[in-house]
Symmetry: C3
Subunit: 357 residues, 3 copies
């Protein structure tokens, strides 16, 4: 049985397969209108995300399937102190696929250990958000016509931006891509992602000015400064509004620049930009629905080998006694979880949250 | 593409068309069981209203369609500070029709400016609630057999009663209707509605006693004193319970009186009245489902011209710099919205919330 | 029109019929995939219970039906002070079956007085929870192959455990069953249930040690100490953790012991037990879905006579002026409800909550 925990566990070929499927579906949706008829998707959202949840729900409904789930833990058994394991064991008995979003890092992998049906990671804390990245790839494939040889600018919160980390990991699998990292030092890209870029031999530079960076970009990926991921409000106020994209800044940009944003935005893109043909973020949200339809069809309909938990270039450590020290790791909350760590080059990392041990 | 923001934008003919459709559906629901198959309705409820939301949901489900949405903004992207525009742009990419309820006046019209699919106004603050009025018309058509030559009593909160304002606007389009306005001076009908009655040459009188008024009525429309629309609790306690309909008061009423209430009621109608054959408010709720089925079929299935935003007797002002001063107007919250105002006779009004400028 | 308020109102034959149906459905679910097509189930959950709600929802969806409802009263008309009667009258006009969970005892019976469609009791306070019991019976029938001649241990909170009371009432209808009641004196089984055991001539003993009891059991039914039903936190802390089932205690148990738990569990069963073949509680949750499918098919599809409100050996008292004094009875909250009481042997009991008067 297969899961989608980390897009990284897919080969470029597998990824292309889903991207192609998304294209075919968007061309001819009625052909897929009953592809998942009689199947039930459970959406277990332990933190709010209407965007992602509605995208999955409309995807499943457009495939003829149906939906159960919650978006409001206080109204759920969780309020009675139920463990993640128990919730997953029971809900996977009711449904054909489980989509989970959880504030703890590694929660999706943890769920996959106990689920009777495929698990899709819809975001585990600040860790991974593979279907957002899948959305981004599908969008680039359709708008730029390629996912290779692109100069990709990433702007805003690169420290906590889950979607940014996931996008970088995936894009450096395709040849000829380079990155321009635009952020304040305080919100710069974490070192372990930079290591991945180096390992992949993928060129990148770090800038603090969006204005200076914009002219060379094929793609500009804007991100929200996430209040809920920043400790103090003062810190939040200091960081937000440093990188605001407006019509003025866009004057220096290429005519075929592709502006993306995972949404929701607060004010990092001025509303005036929405009418610029280079603004693709609303289109991106729509491709997100087709990307998720493609994923569901691939996982539920055609028997596929996506989402192998084996990760290339990583050696699983079987007998294992090392506890993860990351306070946000799911293993710190759900104590019955077995220790699982990976050897990545020299380093040892927790398999759940991928923090170095 | 068409929306339903204000029932006022429909001609009596268009209105009758929907009313007839509601009748045909209620006679033969199975005939329409797959009319909206494969279509998705998004219900965006920014304030609670189980009544309205369930009525829309059952309507769409009984037409074979499906549903996404939220009723709990704290669990939605709104909690992350997303603008109405962004939410609508994205959700209208997932769905075939958007049903919106929002505490800000004009929010539905604002949504229609950015939606890719039809928008239905399910209540915008104290402003409009067209599908409730549609429900009322369908109910009168079926129970009284006519929507003309009726003496209609309206009792309770006529100041804040959105449904009352909307019902009056619509009923004065039909010939021979007259109104009896029953309320305390503090909760009397706003002047701009009285102006409409005068413009339409529609007779009305204002009374403070339900007892005195009841004997001449064909229809008695009771309303709830809405706690959430009244500033102080003291004020609320003072107003509620002044007009309570009981078996005693009904003794003076006509045998074929039709008692309506938009529901939910608190205590403005005694429970003992429920068993009186003249009590039609539960039946009214059921007609509400058929009215919404008719609306969805008309908007989504047969290509119709309902809901033109052109309003009869109102001249759109194109180049426009006048800001609306109504603190509850959506334009005060969503600053990117273009100014839009209308010339109505002598006066200028904001097109969103219709407040005189 | 029929309801399911109390499993006790079913004869063993009627119960078997549903149990058999559940078996047929679990063997061949696709045969029933459209049994409830075009039908709508309303789930009115006035207190959180994801487990029960999702089980009902997946049951209805797997029968091809659809769903409306709420799980969050603050987001419902209830927040506007609507009575249970009004909610039921309106919602039963939108739907084909109403599933209600409410913290007040007797709320389901009260609902059935005003509903236009069948009502299913999904838990009314600490009173009844018939579909959990139905789940338990279906599980025993499938795992033990019988519901007779079983030695059944019940452990934990026997005072407040709604599911325990309901299970005992039902199991003593089948011949040859005996009970071992394992609890602290503070959380012992209420006297009126013991009276029922005596009336049914059903042997039972009370023990305080799980260790001593376990070896003779065919079935061990563990329950959660329900924080929300115990007054003080101190009291809760004192009671919980007294009866924790672990691998050690299981050494003395029969090899074919069947361990059940209504779920959610907190820590009354150690996680290590989950991998023991005798642990059946997750399987039980799955049978719960099939049990509910069988119930819905029986109530909505084949015209059945289940759920007669007549209760064997109980005489309804028609003219009735005795008010119930149980503070948790629905009649204390919804004052329009008619008094209803039953003569049970010598005693008189409120028909809503069954408290002796």
């Amino acid at each position: 049985m297969q899961h989608l925990i980390d897009l990284n566990s897919l080969s470029p070929e597998q990824l292309y397969e889903i991207v192609d499927m998304a294209g075919r579906i968007s061309q001819n949706p009625s052909h897929y209108a009953e592809a998942c008829k009689g199947k039930i998707m459970a959406t277990l959202f332990y933190e709010p995300s209407t965007r992602t949840q509605m995208s999955f729900q409309s995807a499943m409904l457009r495939l003829g399937g149906s939906i159960i789930g919650f978006d409001n833990p206080s109204g759920s058994s969780v309020a009675k102190g139920e463990s993640l394991k128990d919730t997953i064991r029971v809900v996977s008995g009711y449904s054909d696929v489980v989509v989970i979003r959880n504030p703890n890092e590694g929660a999706a992998l943890a769920s996959s250990l106990y689920s009777k049906v495929p698990v899709i990671n819809a975001g585990d804390g600040g860790h991974l958000h593979p279907t957002q990245t899948l959305t981004d790839i599908v969008t680039l494939h359709n708008i730029k016509g390629r996912t290779e040889n692109l100069t990709i600018g990433l702007c805003g919160d690169l420290l906590n931006g889950r979607t940014v980390h996931s996008l970088i990991k995936t894009m450096c699998k395709f040849k000829g891509n380079s990155f321009v990292l635009i952020s304040t030092p305080k919100l710069g890209l974490p070192d372990y992602i930079k290591e991945l870029l180096d390992e992949a031999g993928c060129p990148y530079k770090e800038l603090t000015s969006l204005h200076k960076a914009i002219e060379e970009l094929d793609v500009l990926y804007m991100t929200r400064i996430q209040r809920e991921r920043i400790s103090s409000d003062a810190e939040y106020e200091a960081q937000r509004g440093i990188y605001i994209l407006d019509a003025k800044k866009l004057e220096a940009a290429k005519p075929d620049l592709c502006i993306l944003h995972p949404l929701p935005r607060v004010d990092e893109i001025e509303v005036e930009v929405d009418d610029d043909p280079r603004a693709c973020y609303f289109l991106q949200a729509e491709y997100g629905m087709f990307a998720r339809m493609a994923l569901l069809v691939t996982m539920l309909v055609k028997d596929s080998d996506i989402g192998t938990t084996e990760k290339e270039g990583k050696v699983k450590i079987t007998v294992d006694s090392t506890k993860c020290l990351n306070p946000r790791c799911i293993t710190r909350k759900e104590h019955y979880l077995p220790n699982r760590s990976l050897q990545i080059g020299e380093a040892i990392a927790c398999e759940y949250c991928e923090h170095r041990i």
